[in-house]
């Protein structure tokens, strides 16, 4: 039997969730015995080369590229997991959601106290992703199967969840592990 395949990505996130993933430490060695990695920043595979069993999504969607990638993941992964607060609720990037996007761009590129842009150049190259009106949590863009809370999710929790999914065993989720308040 071939190994289950995992893919991961970071959308509008800070890579903190991926760092926490690496914090499973020596269990990484156990993990690569159990699974194969496909598209992921961990191995730098840029495009899906296979249908995956599990997709871990860090971050929400703040631009059109995020949406595109998230949809790609949905197409290519059997199980999709919102991995950390930003994927689940938009997190810190979503703090802009109450401010009109016009004001955000103006402050970032024109009027901010640390901004020097005398020629008033605005990022409008066609190659660039387009900015969305607000930051969307992943489950508002595609169907998500699981939510893994935390900022970032605790390394033990990540390990336990992957372990349970891969080996198809029940998982214990004591209150302390998923309570963040």
């Amino acid at each position: 039997m071939s190994k289950p395949i995992i893919a991961t990505t970071s959308l509008a996130g800070c890579f903190g969730c991926h760092m926490s993933f690496l914090d499973i430490d020596d269990r990484l060695l156990d993990l690569i015995e159990l699974v194969e990695f496909n598209k992921s920043p961990i191995n730098d595979i840029k495009n899906f080369t296979n249908v995956c069993d599990i997709g871990l999504i860090e971050g929400g969607c703040c631009n059109t590229e995020n949406i595109h990638i998230l949809k790609e993941f949905r197409k290519n992964c059997k199980i999709l997991i919102s991995f950390g607060e930003c994927a689940i609720m938009g997190g810190l990037p979503a703090m802009r959601n109450d401010v009109p996007v016009r004001e955000c761009l103006e402050e970032a590129y024109l009027s901010g106290p640390s901004t020097v842009n005398e020629e008033r150049i605005l990022p409008n190259d066609e190659e660039l992703p387009m900015i969305l009106n607000r930051v969307y949590p992943c489950h508002e863009v595609v169907k998500m199967d699981y939510h893994l809370p935390g900022c970032p999710p605790n390394a033990d929790l990540i390990w336990d969840v992957l372990h349970a999914l891969i080996l198809d065993v029940n998982i214990e989720l004591p209150y302390e592990v998923i309570k963040y308040d």
Binding site: T64, I67, V101, E106, M130, I131, L132, N133
Partner: protein, 600 residues
């Protein structure tokens, strides 16, 4: 100049920080708003931090840090106002003023603002203009009102109709508000003789006998929660405390409720007598009537009634000639917050703070106002007490049903011929009331206001009582021309979003999420999953701290329960997931700003 005025106001309230509400109300009525520069001097004067003062100001709808115009129009945005043509009226106000709602005209003359139900659901659209109530506003009247304002007329000169019926026309009220009493019973009956019960009967009874009589009557709280009144009083009497307090909850913020307004207008003596009896029963010397800001137009009148009662020995030293029973009542105004109808929030507000419900226990009967044992009763409950003492608990129990004794005053509004106040014994069915009110082609009834239940024809044979359809009195009728989801459920959900105090996470967030779900379904992007989400998320509201939080999802949940087909008709049956996101719309603003044509 202003500094002096502030110091005078602070002195008037003995620089007591627990009177911050009164201090702010006075400053605002003096200046029209509360200038930012005064926050520090107020805070210094009453030994609070500026942040404390600011958080109280920011909590209440009617407190403002910016001028809201020489004339301030607060146009009601409750459901019944919309049903009666609010939108057209609002449009005329905006056109005539040249500004939008939420703004003030450039010359600072007129401010247009929304406000939640002002207790006039039987005479909508209605507005508060500089504290005066304007009812049944038409587009024509709206034009006239603005014209009068531009000519600088006094607000009371703008009434274009005769004063209302009953005491509404009395010199100290002079309002065009109408009572519309359609059916009276023990509470609203005109045969009441002020003070008789207190002076002749209560004076001969011990407090314990008073409590026993109330217990015998099986009277339950009329604000909606239905807690046994006698038991509440007994708990408070037994609680230890140097002082005790009686509060009357006249915050009446539940949209569609206006019965307390009528009782306060026609039977204030009865209410104050009930408070005095409660004070005697529990051993309190001070009663506080917490009156919603919207009813400020009754202030002079009610204060005059209190003065008269003091002169007649029905208040003041040795009240009712009972030695050592020195009972008095003062009026505490709120400043626009639905949640202050919750008893512990009402107490917080009376102490000058944000109206956030407290954690319980301890209950107010043990630790209430200023941490002393406190009884909080609804207007109607206290009035019923007077009748119970007068005629006996047994008599009261003979009214209504076995477990819901006595009568209930209902506020009936919406699509019916005879909107108004109905005092009925418990046990009437919804159909009975619809018939009495002259309602035809009724599609749905909201029983108990937004926090109650939306029911359809299948439930019209149900009865009003604590074990079936309990209600605080709001009864809003919708006929077949109404769009239940788009108009009714959406309006109520927006109401709860505005009125959440923000303390508990589910109450702060879930109503907004439910609104988004509802919008998605109405736009045709809904799926079965959205319906299950609504149900699951709505049930999470039970972990909120107060009754408001528990019920804030009810408009969505009860409409889903009783009108599920309305939701199901609008969702996509073959699609498992729909984001509902229109990508072109989502990028439009950012692309426009950076001068880029969106391409996908």
């Amino acid at each position: 100049m202003i500094e002096n005025k502030i110091q005078k106001i602070l002195d008037k309230f003995n620089r007591d920080k627990t009177r911050l509400m009164d201090i702010l109300l006075h400053i605002q009525s003096e200046i029209g708003y509360i200038p930012q520069t005064l926050i520090q001097p107020i805070a210094d004067g009453i030994d609070l931090s500026a942040a404390d003062v600011l958080q109280t100001i920011s909590f209440y709808h009617f407190f403002t840090l910016k001028p809201r115009g020489k004339y301030t129009i607060y146009l009601n945005n409750s459901i019944v106002a919309y049903m009666m043509g609010r939108e057209k009226v609002a449009k005329v106000f905006e056109e005539e003023c040249g500004c939008k709602f939420g703004e003030v005209t450039e010359d600072g003359l007129i401010g247009l603002f929304d406000t939640a139900c002002i207790g006039m659901s039987d005479q909508e659209p209605a507005a508060l203009i500089n504290g005066k109530v304007f009812t049944n506003i038409t587009t024509f009247r709206a034009r006239e009102i603005i014209r009068d304002m531009k000519q600088g007329r006094k607000v009371e000169e703008m009434f274009a109709t005769t004063f209302g019926d009953g005491k509404n026309a009395s010199p100290l009220i002079r309002t065009i508000v109408r009572n519309r009493m359609k059916r009276t019973g023990p509470v609203l009956n005109m045969s009441y003789k002020a003070g008789n019960t207190l002076l002749k009967q209560v004076a001969q009874m011990t407090p314990k006998e008073v409590i026993n009589e109330v217990k015998l009557s099986h009277l339950r709280g009329r604000g909606g929660a239905g807690f046994p009144t006698g038991l509440k009083w007994e708990f408070c009497r037994r609680a230890s405390g140097e002082k005790k307090f009686v509060f009357c909850n006249a915050d009446e913020g539940e949209p569609g409720t206006f019965k307390d307004r009528v009782i306060l207008t026609e039977k204030p003596e009865m209410l104050f007598e009930g408070m005095t009896i409660a004070g005697y029963a529990i051993g309190a010397k001070e009663g506080i009537l917490y009156l919603r800001y919207e009813y400020m137009y009754l202030k002079k009148y009610l204060e005059d009634v209190l003065d008269r009662l003091r002169k007649n020995n029905q208040l003041g030293p040795n009240t009712a000639n009972i030695k050592g029973f020195d009972f008095d009542i003062r009026i505490q105004f709120g400043a626009g917050a639905y949640v202050c109808g919750e008893e512990s929030a009402l107490i917080e507000s009376s102490e000058g703070k944000r109206g956030e419900p407290r954690n319980r226990p301890p209950f107010p009967v043990e630790k209430g106002y200023l941490d002393y044992p406190t009884v909080v009763n609804n207007v109607e409950t206290l009035c019923s007490v007077v009748r119970i003492i007068q005629n006996g608990g047994d008599w009261y129990r003979s009214l209504g049903t076995e477990e819901s004794t006595g009568t209930k005053v209902l506020s009936v509004s919406g699509d019916c011929r005879y909107a108004g106040i109905y005092e009925l014994e418990w046990g009437f069915t919804v159909s009975d009331i619809l018939e009495m009110a002259g309602a035809e082609n009724t599609l749905a009834v909201q029983v108990g206001g937004p926090s109650g239940a939306l029911i359809g024809p299948d439930d019209f044979n149900r009865t009003l009582c604590y074990s079936d359809l309990a209600t605080g009195g709001s009864f809003i009728i919708f006929n077949e021309s109404r769009d239940i989801l788009r108009d009714v459920v959406m309006n109520f959900t927006e109401f709860f979003i505005d009125e959440s105090c923000g303390s508990c996470v589910p109450c702060r967030n879930i109503p907004t999420l439910l609104k988004h779900k509802l919008e998605k379904i109405l736009q045709g992007h809904g799926t079965e999953k959205d319906i299950t989400d609504i149900k699951e998320w709505g049930n999470m509201m039970q972990i909120n701290r107060c009754g408001l939080g528990h019920t804030a999802a009810n408009p969505v949940l009860t409409s889903l329960k009783n009108f599920r087909h309305l939701y199901e008709d609008k969702i996509q049956k073959t699609v498992e997931f729909d984001s509902g996101i229109d990508l072109a719309e989502a990028v439009a603003e950012s692309c426009e700003f950076v001068d880029r044509i969106p391409k996908f």
